[in-house]
Structure formats: C-alpha cells, structure tokens
C-alpha cells in the first residue's frame, strides 16, 4: 500500500471533517481508486472511506437553513439575527 493510502485511511473521523477537507479527500480517493495499483483489501477499504466521505459532503450540502449570528465588539456570539 502507498503512503497516500496510509494517510487516507488513518485520517480524521469523517464526521468531523469540514466540506473542503471531505471533498478533497473524496477526490483523492476516487483518483487513487481509478488509477493506483493496490490490493483488493486496500481498494475495498478505500471504497468504504470514499463512500463515507461522499455521505459527509452530501450531508453538509443538505444543510437546510443559513445561520446568521451577530457578534459583539470582541467577536463573541451575540445571538441570532432576525432578517424578518
């Protein structure tokens, strides 16, 4: 197995990734699965991780409503903003 594969497998828990990280990792998984030489076990593991990443991306994109919150002078959260 290559170095990239090891890094991909041992990556952070998918549920904690932001969209950009999850999307990049997904892209990388697809590219490697489409081109790299690897064992059957490695390709199945990579597939499982890729599927989880795709789920994570889709979940982030499915966010229902934009959240708008005000900040005070120090940048602290000062509550939701009502746009009426």
């Amino acid at each position: 197995m290559g170095k990239g594969a090891a890094a991909g497998m041992a990556g952070k828990d998918v549920a904690e990734l932001g969209f950009e990280q999850a999307y990049r990792a997904l892209d990388e998984a697809v590219a490697r699965l489409e081109s790299d030489d690897m064992t059957l076990d490695a390709s199945l593991a990579l597939y499982e991780r890729g599927a989880a990443l795709a789920e994570r991306c889709a979940a982030l994109l499915a966010a229902a409503e934009l959240r708008v919150r005000e900040v005070d002078g120090e940048g602290r959260d000062a509550g939701p903003v009502d746009l009426e």
Partner: protein, 401 residues
C-alpha cells in the same frame, strides 16, 4: 492724547491680521460673484454666503499657476491669507488655491488619498489574497437595517447554506461610520471567520464616503482574512474597493464571489460517488476474473481432472457398446422374422392347403416320391390338409405313357 493717522491705524490693523496664524493659512468655502479678471491680470471677486461677503484677490502670478479659476454663481473652496488693503479701507482675502466645492472637493481628496495609498503599495496585486473555496464561516460588515444585508443573506442561503454568517453591524454613512467599520472588521476577524464581506448598498458619493476613509482602507489592509468589498453599484469605486482583496460590483455579487454553488457541488459529489462505485466494481471484477483464470489452470493440472476424464471416456464407451448391442439385436430379430416367414412359405402344410397330398408307405412311413417306391398291393397313407386316410396301391404307370 495721541491720535493715529488713518494710515497708522490701517497699518496696525493689518499687522494684527497678518500676525494671526489662522488667518495666514485659511480655507474658505463660498459662492463666487462679481468675478472680473482685470487688465492687469489679477482677479477680483467676492465670496459670499447667506450672512456675509468677503472681498477676494488672486494675483496674476497665482492665477497663472491655478488649474481652476473662479466663476460667478458657483461654490468654491479656496485657500489663502487675510490682510488689509489700506487704500480701499477693507480687509481682503488673498487666494492662492481654488477648487470647485462639494463634489470637486471630495473628488480631489479621493484622488489624493488613492494616489498616496497606491504609492504605499496598499493596492498591489501581490497583496491580494485568494478567497477560501468553501468558507464555513463568513463575516459580514454592514448595516443591520440595510437591504444589502438581506441581499447577501439571500444569495448565501441559496448558494451555500452550509455556511454560518457572523454579522458585525455598523453604521455605513456619516462621520461615525469609519471608526465603526474599523471596529466591526476587527470584531469579525476575532470571531474566526474565513472571509469578510464589507458591504453597502448604493448611494450618492457623499453617502459612500466612509468607504473612502483612510482608517477604513488601513483596517481592510490589516484584516487577517481576505476582504471582499461590495459597495454601491457597479459604477461606484471606493478606496475600500481598491484595497480589498476582491472588489465586487454589488453586495449580492460579493456574496456570490465568496461562495461555491451547492447545487453544482451536489452534482460533483454524486459524480465522485458514481466513479467510486464503478472503479471498485471494476477492481473486484478484475480480481474475480484473475481468480477464475487461476482456478481454470488449477483444474487442468488437478488429478481429479484425469480421473473424471477417464470416467467420461468409459461412460462414452459404455454408451457406444449399448448402442451397438441394440443394433445387433435389431438385425437378428429382423433376420429371424424373415426366416420365419420363409419357413412358413416352405412348410408342407402350405402345399397341402393348395390341394396337394403327402403319401407315405404304411410299412415304414417313408415318403413316396416316385413310382418306384411302391408296388401294387402296398398299403399307403395319404395326408391331406385336414387329416389322413389309408389306401392301397392298385396299379402304377408313368405319367404321359
């Protein structure tokens, strides 16, 4: 008592005015009237407003250096010094700089600040930072009441609802606006946003003036994350636009620029998912085919294969044997049938049926085939189809004798 001469008094007053630091270097704004260039080349006119008038002079030498000269009925901003003109008994304003008031004034301050900040390098392309591709936290600096905020939030909600907006409300016009904008930029930066939208809807040049303030320009330059400036309409350029990392024509456009389109991304994610499944399926197929090929080769060399091959051959032989036996039996049966039929045709019974009789000697049962076999007086037995009777030979002779 000591009386002043008129000239002495005039000189005294002149000295007082000329000693005053304010009056020696003073800006005055007013409307020009009675403007007339004299034959001498000097310019004489009056600046006035609702409550007062001011006699003014532009010396020929100053006038030659000015790009703008006064014209009746228009407001001007002028720079110069106040002194006394003794012969006429009045104080006068000696003008050395003249520019149109209002818009012209703002415009020149704008150009001056722009030139200065450009010189400093604040607008350099090298300073512009790339925008984050998928910002999860977006800072917005604008008025809480303005339509700009709603426009921005509408665009963000449509394109990129995954993000969270951190709003630092601020005045966007008036004297207090620049300081508030500076503070708001600092506040959103502390809130950990990845990019800042600095926005204001359209307005007059004066309305947008806070965005031409040097403090605001420097705060944008100092912001730790990229700033997208969307102020006014497309035709409005402010100093803030030049110093921002990206200039957007409107607040809505600024919101578009900082966000990806979630619909496009959903399609892209679906595409990745499809390719993922397809490529792993291809791989599994490849492994399966490789396994099948190996299994096939293994079967070719396995002993079971040879045994089964022999068994198959034996089975085939056995089947051929069975078929051959059957064929032979069929032939034998057909042969037997033929013979039986021929036998039946040859049997004496068939001859007797046609009316012939069988004659044998009673003495020894031998068949009588010729006349020599019997003599007169011999007892014979005659067989016909339905039985036999005994007879005696009474004579004999050759046929046709």
């Amino acid at each position: 008592m000591n009386a002043y001469s008129v000239t002495a008094l005039s000189d005294h007053i002149k000295a007082i005015l000329e000693d005053d630091p304010e009056l020696g270097d003073v800006w005055v704004e007013g409307e020009v009237s009675n403007c007339r260039p004299a034959a001498s080349g000097h310019w004489y006119f009056v600046l006035k407003d609702e409550g007062a008038t001011l006699s003014c002079v532009i010396w020929k030498s100053s006038a030659a250096a000015l790009s703008t000269l006064p014209a009746d009925g228009q407001r001007f901003l002028m720079h110069g010094a106040v002194s006394v003109y003794g012969p006429a008994g009045r104080y006068q304003y000696y003008v050395d700089h003249c520019e149109p008031a209002g818009l012209g004034d703002l415009h020149q301050r704008f150009e001056a600040l722009k030139a200065r900040l450009a010189e400093e390098g604040l607008f350099d392309a090298a300073r512009k930072r790339p925008l984050p591709a998928y910002p999860m936290r977006i800072g917005v600096v604008t008025s809480r009441q303005a339509a700009a905020l709603r426009d921005i939030c509408n665009v963000l909600a449509r394109r990129w609802p995954a993000a969270e907006v951190r709003l630092a409300p601020t005045l966007v016009q008036g004297d207090a606006a620049p300081d508030q904008i500076v503070a708001a930029l600092a506040a959103v930066a502390r809130a950990g946003v990845e990019v800042v939208l600095l926005a204001r809807g359209g307005g007059s040049l004066e309305d947008l003036w806070a965005f031409n303030d040097e403090r605001v320009a420097r705060a944008i330059a100092a912001c730790p994350v990229p700033v997208v400036c969307g102020v006014g309409h497309e035709i409005d350029f402010t100093i803030a636009d030049f110093v921002a990392d990206v200039r957007a024509p409107t607040p809505s456009a600024a919101a578009e620029m900082v966000t990806p389109d979630a619909r496009e991304l959903r399609l892209a994610v679906d595409d990745r998912r499809l390719r993922l499944t397809r490529s792993v399926a291809d791989r599994v197929d490849g492994w399966r085919q490789a396994t099948d090929r190996l299994a096939h080769r293994l079967r070719l060399v396995a002993p079971e294969r040879a045994i089964r091959d022999h068994r198959t051959r034996i089975e085939a032989l056995r089947a051929r044997l069975g078929r051959a036996m059957e064929a032979r039996l069929r032939l034998a049966r057909a042969d037997l049938d033929g013979r039986t039929r021929r036998l039946a045709a040859l049997s004496p019974e068939a001859t007797l049926r046609r009316g012939y009789a069988h004659v044998s000697r009673a003495r020894d049962g031998r068949a009588v085939g010729t006349i020599g076999d019997v003599r007169s007086g011999d007892a014979i037995r005659v067989r016909v189809i339905d039985g036999a009777f005994d007879a005696v030979v009474t004579g004999q002779g050759r046929l046709f004798d």
